[in-house]
């Protein structure tokens, strides 16, 4: 802007405030775009708010149930401690985020995606998947259909655009998935009482790492599909059908009628994420129920599916999704 005239004169003449000339760094811009994209997706969809409300409601109900029943449960089982109650509740709650079809239980035999006292929370995975699809499927496809990506590319590096989109989804993951469970941890920690914080810190770490892994995996898959279609509906449906159908079909294919589970199970994203929670907990001997048939899955016996394969395949999903987004943005969107 013209520096020869004063600010007042400037505004009077052009109805414009002169630019201070101060530009923020790249990190600020990245944060700003991630926040804007996430906030907009949140703003635009009433369904997202309703589903999030349902999730919070479920957590509150779980909390209330546990706090009301605490004394009865402690009296009924002398070996049970408040620390154990916190662990069982919270770990199973976060596992419920991805245990859609397959029923799994670890060495402790805690009932898999069901809590000790028979309170099923596995259905939450369905709502979380819908939430993720509603938020993420339009993140890139909308830019293509609205033709706003040309404006973004004239202001940002393409890698900043991609990071911004992942950042937006990651913010969503942290606010919608991780944060409620971290709050749940502290509510239970305070509500149950008599718990040594250091002793339960690994549970908090488990909750954070596991929910972040879910966010990252979903982000990669959903954004990859979003970058391939200019219609958010198609992208969302494709992701939903892929994850939903795979979690229905794969257990059927992997069911070997006893003994080791088939390698087909590696293609079931949700089960792989669920298994990663057990691996994070240091459990390697896992009872897995495929279509009503019990299988014993040893992730450390050198036969069949191993821990490294589970984590590797999740990593592969993340990397493949990311590569697909990069390819689409750098090649297809730039011609």
């Amino acid at each position: 802007m013209n520096e020869r005239i004063t600010n007042d004169a400037y505004v009077r003449k052009f109805s414009f405030r002169p630019f201070t000339g101060i530009r923020k760094g790249r990190l600020y811009r990245l944060w700003s775009i991630s926040w804007q994209w996430w906030a907009h997706e949140w703003d635009r969809s009433r369904a997202v708010k309703i589903l999030f409300g349902f999730q919070i409601f479920t957590l509150v109900i779980t909390n209330l149930f546990l706090l009301v029943m605490k004394d009865f449960m402690l009296l009924g089982d002398p070996t049970l401690t408040t620390t154990k109650m916190l662990e069982n509740t919270l770990i199973e709650l976060v596992r419920g985020l991805v245990s859609f079809q397959t029923s799994i239980s670890g060495e402790g035999g805690n009932g898999g995606d069901e809590m000790d006292f028979g309170f099923t929370i596995g259905g939450m995975s369905f709502f979380i998947l819908i939430l993720c699809v509603l938020i993420g499927s339009g993140l890139i496809s909308d830019d293509m259909s609205n033709k706003t990506n040309e404006i973004y590319y004239s202001k940002l590096e393409k890698h900043e655009y991609i990071l911004g989109k992942f950042g937006a989804f990651f913010l969503f993951g942290n606010i919608i998935i991780t944060l409620p469970y971290v709050l749940e941890f502290f509510l239970l920690f305070i509500g149950l009482g008599g718990i040594d914080f250091i002793q339960v810190l690994p549970i908090l770490v488990h909750v954070i790492v596991f929910t972040e892994l879910i966010s990252l995996t979903y982000a990669s898959i959903i954004l990859a599909f979003s970058s391939m279609s200019s219609r958010r509906l198609y992208a969302g449906l494709a992701v939903f059908m892929l994850i939903f159908l795979l979690s229905m079909i794969i257990p059927f294919l992997a069911n070997t009628g006893g003994g080791e589970v088939g390698f087909q199970l590696l293609f079931d994203v949700l089960t792989m994420l669920l298994l990663s929670s057990y691996i994070l907990n240091g459990e390697t001997l896992i009872e897995i129920d495929l279509l009503g048939r019990e299988h014993l899955l040893d992730l450390a016996d050198g036969v069949g599916i191993e821990s490294w394969a589970v984590l590797g395949i999740i990593g592969l999903y993340i990397i493949l999704g990311l590569l697909l987004v990069i390819f689409q943005v750098y090649r297809r969107h730039s011609n």
Partner: protein, 316 residues
């Protein structure tokens, strides 16, 4: 920072080429764009104007060659370039339909590094400047095409760039909207002291808003210079209708050295000195009656069409 560029040039390219596989976008484009306010990029669709603009903005990478914008190397200092260019893309952007104009423009400001407060202030000011002050809190999905074009201009202005590049900014606008847009572009040069590059296939748009033009065709620069100079070679003719022996009249004129031909029922005589006098003399000598006489200046379109035709024939 690039040191080789002359101070008065806002953009310099050297042998800049972009190929999409086998398809040529631009080929060996070497230009120096002087800092004289308004610049026109003129040429038919597919001539390479948009490819050059997108290359300068780093949206696509050049196949070879180099480019400097305000002394910044487009390959190595693209973020400095982007902060100093405001871009109005050609595409009919629908923006984010359920976002307000204010939010979107401020968001674009933050992408260029403006703080939250300043981006809001400048978004508001930019929208007022383009005439959308009252509508700034309306959702973009409710905007007409003309209003959307103005939002694009506000987006280009929000971060106070030195250069504004408008790619076909009047596309799809009605005459009123078109005039408003061209008026805004003119004002940017006079009021805001911006360098405006207007890319268009419409000669009148370029002529109304700029006085220096680069003419593109088939990925090459056909001509460049002040529009007045580019069009100075324009041809004017005198059109006639006569009654009598036409061939005798034509021979008479040709014998006097005039270029004369028949076109759409008229006799056309290329205008030189004393053409009218020679026509009357020839009419008397060949005993024909002049029923109609009028001069016909070639329009700018005619001049550029002939320029494209000649240069393309030369290239081939």
């Amino acid at each position: 920072m690039g040191q080789q560029m002359e101070i008065n040039d806002i953009i310099t390219t050297r042998n800049l080429s972009k190929y999409y596989g086998q398809i040529k976008g631009i080929d060996d484009v070497s230009i120096k764009i002087p800092a004289i306010g308004g610049i026109g990029f003129l040429g038919p669709n597919g001539a390479g104007k948009t490819t050059l603009i997108r290359t300068l903005l780093g949206i696509i990478r050049p196949t070879r060659g180099e480019a400097y914008v305000l002394n910044y190397n487009v390959k190595t200092e693209i973020n400095h370039v982007r902060d100093r260019i405001g871009y109005i893309p050609e595409y009919n952007t629908t923006f984010i339909p359920d976002m307000t104009a204010m939010k979107f423009v401020a968001f674009c400001g933050r992408m260029n590094g403006l703080s939250t407060i300043e981006s809001k202030q400048r978004a508001s000011d930019s929208l007022y400047y383009v005439g959308l002050g009252e509508e700034r809190y309306r959702k973009l999905g409710t905007f007409s095409l003309g209003m959307k074009q103005k939002v694009k201009l506000a987006v280009a202005l929000v971060h106070d760039p030195e250069i504004i590049i408008a790619d076909e900014p009047t596309n799809g606008l009605d005459p009123n909207g078109r005039n408003q847009m061209l008026e805004l572009i003119r004002n940017l040069q006079t009021d805001q002291h911006k360098h405006v590059i207007l890319s268009s296939h419409l000669l009148r748009d370029v002529e109304q808003t700029t006085n220096y033009a680069f003419v593109f065709s088939n990925g090459h620069i056909l001509a460049q210079g002040r529009i007045k100079d580019l069009t100075s070679a324009k041809v004017s003719t005198i059109s006639l209708r006569i009654k009598g022996d036409e061939s005798k009249f034509l021979d008479e004129m040709r014998n006097k050295g005039f270029e004369i031909w028949q076109e759409r029922g008229y006799i056309e005589v290329k205008k030189t000195n004393d053409t009218e006098k020679a026509i009357f003399k020839a009419a008397v000598n060949s005993k024909v009656e002049i029923r109609y006489l009028g001069s016909r200046s070639s329009s700018l379109e005619d001049v550029f069409v002939s320029l494209f035709k000649n240069k393309e024939e030369a290239i081939q």
